[in-house]
């Protein structure tokens, strides 16, 4: 398995809105904490070190 960097969501606008809604009304600290939890949840879901490495590389830009 390798990292998918092609469009993969049926409704990208809905997914993006979902992410923003989750942060609505949160302070900066609460948002940072939510993001961190979300990253850990997704990290585990991906479950593949090679994909994670590629994802971190892609995120670094």
């Amino acid at each position: 398995m390798s990292l998918n960097l092609q469009p993969n969501l049926k409704c990208p606008d809905d997914a993006y809105a979902l992410l923003l809604e989750a942060h609505e009304g949160l302070t900066k600290a609460e948002s940072d904490a939510l993001n961190a939890r979300l990253i850990l949840v997704l990290l585990n879901h991906v479950g593949d070190m090679e994909v994670l490495r590629e994802a971190i590389e892609a995120a670094r830009g």
Binding site: D32, A33, A36, R37, I39, L40, V41
Partner: protein, 527 residues
């Protein structure tokens, strides 16, 4: 408590030795510097094998305070081989459950769930002074049986000289100084190793900018025999804390203090007692036995052997306390070194065999430093974002199993496998259990009449599991059926076991030529 002050007694007082009146410096095969857990283990191991050894210590008593308190399964197995494991287990506190708290809430608990069919538990808690006293008792017992071990108290090494085929030491005593020579000098003189400093050797690594208050408290409380670890507890906000039970109603308390503190002020009873009262509750009566404030580093020497001087234990490598990897790894250093030194001294192996001590134990130290550094980074986050992730993992761990493995309050000491060691012969049973591949410490298993590990060690052994075998060269034969745990942990085949109970080679069937070649490799005779 009668034995609570064992560390205030002179246990091996200075006595004048004829060496001090010799016309020229007397040569000894092995001199060990330092009579702590690693030095005493080394002396006992060598003495048991008939290698004359002189132990020098600047003191004459066991260590003050509990210090290293968690002794892992592998060192206990080593102490079994040395004949003193049982007294330690009898005295020690066996524990399996750990609880992790964040703030006032328990986020999860773990059970070490030891696998059945091993003689020894995963851990015991035992004060370092008790352990040292038990090692001293064993040393005295061996001396009485004629083992060539000398222990010289109040004998401080004040100078060291390196030569091609020996080292010289100058020793200060209450009656002046004298010189000795050693074929081999083993420095077990701790993290601040004077030997290392006198030789001007490196000791590089990472300093952790944090302080921990460590207190031994005696109380008759009904806290369970468990390891309790707090992140950000109400009684020590923003920091961590640990509570762990020791024998004699003594409890170990570790409180993280942060970096910017005055150590001397923090150590004063009027400052320590309120902290502990806040932790234990107002109604718990306790006495302070010992208090210390420490900081730590994770570092190692580049090489553990410098010609005729060999470093073992904290003198060679230092880790953070999280994971109990300090004393436990030092004892494994001794276990790895002594049989090699014996073969070299008797001429059965070339000096190059000692390079494998360096390679194998550097590998072990790297593993311990990596694990203890990661624990430290989790426990004491060094940046805002690392604290955010740490707290996120703790938060999630309360409800979700997936997050619990992220929580790192110390990865507890397990022995390392010497993968890739020059002493290994390549694995001829790749389908057999990985846990018993070449380089591994032998997994214990029950036999019809006791445990496997009690039948191994101190010499090379050919372990024939469910197949025919014979003794070859210096290796004895032990035949056992391939049933139960033996079959699960070893499948069936021929195993070549080193004197330190690590596996050197394995094959599906007996072949004397292959064993001879593997023995030659495992003793450094075939590069």
């Amino acid at each position: 408590m009668a034995d609570a002050k064992i560390f205030e007694q002179s246990l091996y007082p200075y006595q004048r030795h004829p060496d001090q009146d010799a016309a020229a410096p007397v040569r000894h095969p092995v001199i060990v510097v330092g009579a702590g857990p690693v030095g005493l283990t080394t002396a006992i191991d060598l003495g048991l094998q008939g290698v004359p050894v002189v132990v020098l210590d600047d003191n004459d008593r066991v260590s003050t305070g509990s210090r290293a308190i968690c002794f892992a399964k592998r060192p206990l197995e080593i102490f079994d081989r040395l004949g003193c494991g049982q007294v330690m287990v009898d005295k020690g506190v066996v524990w399996n459950t750990g609880r992790v708290f964040m703030g006032e809430r328990q986020v999860y608990e773990f059970n070490l769930l030891p696998e059945g069919g091993h003689r020894r538990p995963a851990f015991i808690n035992l004060q370092q002074y008790h352990l040292e006293q038990m090692l001293l008792d064993r040393l005295r017992e061996l001396q009485a049986e004629g083992a060539p071990i000398q222990l010289r108290g109040k004998s401080r090494v004040s100078a060291i000289g390196q030569h091609d085929d020996h080292a010289t030491v100058e020793i200060d005593t209450p009656e002046g100084s004298y010189d000795l020579e050693a074929d081999w000098l083993i420095a077990c003189d701790g993290a601040g190793s004077p030997t290392r400093k006198m030789l001007g050797l490196d000791f590089v690594g990472r300093v952790f900018e944090d302080n921990f208050l460590i207190a031994d408290v005696t109380m008759q409380a009904d806290f369970p025999t468990e390891r309790w670890f707090w992140f950000d507890p109400p009684f020590n906000p923003g920091q961590s804390a640990l509570l762990h039970k020791q024998p004699d109603g003594v409890w170990r308390i570790d409180l993280q203090l942060g970096w910017d503190i005055d150590k001397e002020v923090e150590k004063r009873p009027e400052n320590v007692i309120p902290r502990i009262r806040a932790m234990l509750g107002e109604d718990v009566a306790f006495d302070l036995e010992w208090v210390s404030v420490y900081t730590f580093q994770c570092r190692r020497m580049e090489r553990f052997r410098r010609n005729r001087v060999i470093f073992a234990g904290d003198s060679a490598h230092q880790v953070s306390p999280f994971g109990a990897r300090g004393a436990n790894s030092g004892i494994q250093d001794a276990d790895n070194l002594c049989w090699k030194l014996k073969l070299v001294l008797e001429g059965s192996a070339p000096e190059a065999l000692l390079d494998s001590y360096d390679a194998e134990r550097v590998h072990g130290a790297e593993e311990n430093i990596l694990n203890s550094t990661r624990s430290t980074d989790f426990i004491t986050p060094k940046s805002e974002i690392s604290r955010i992730f740490r707290d996120a993992a703790l938060h999630l761990s309360e409800r979700h199993a997936f997050a619990r493995p992220f929580v790192n309050s110390g990865r507890l000491s397990v022995p390392c496998t010497y993968d890739g060691s020059a002493l290994n012969t390549s694995d001829a049973m790749p389908e057999a259990p990985a846990r018993s591949r070449p380089g591994s410490p032998c997994p214990d298993a029950p036999l019809a009449d006791g445990f496997l590990l009690d039948r191994l060690g101190g010499r090379f052994t050919i372990l024939a599991v469910g197949v025919e075998g014979e003794a070859v060269g210096m290796a004895d034969l032990l035949s056992v059926p391939a049933t139960g745990e033996m079959a699960e942990r070893y499948a069936s085949g021929i195993y070549l076991i080193r004197p330190d109970q690590h596996i050197a080679a394995r094959w599906p069937a007996f072949d004397a030529d292959m064993i001879r070649a593997a023995l030659s490799r495992a003793t450094g005779n075939t590069p």
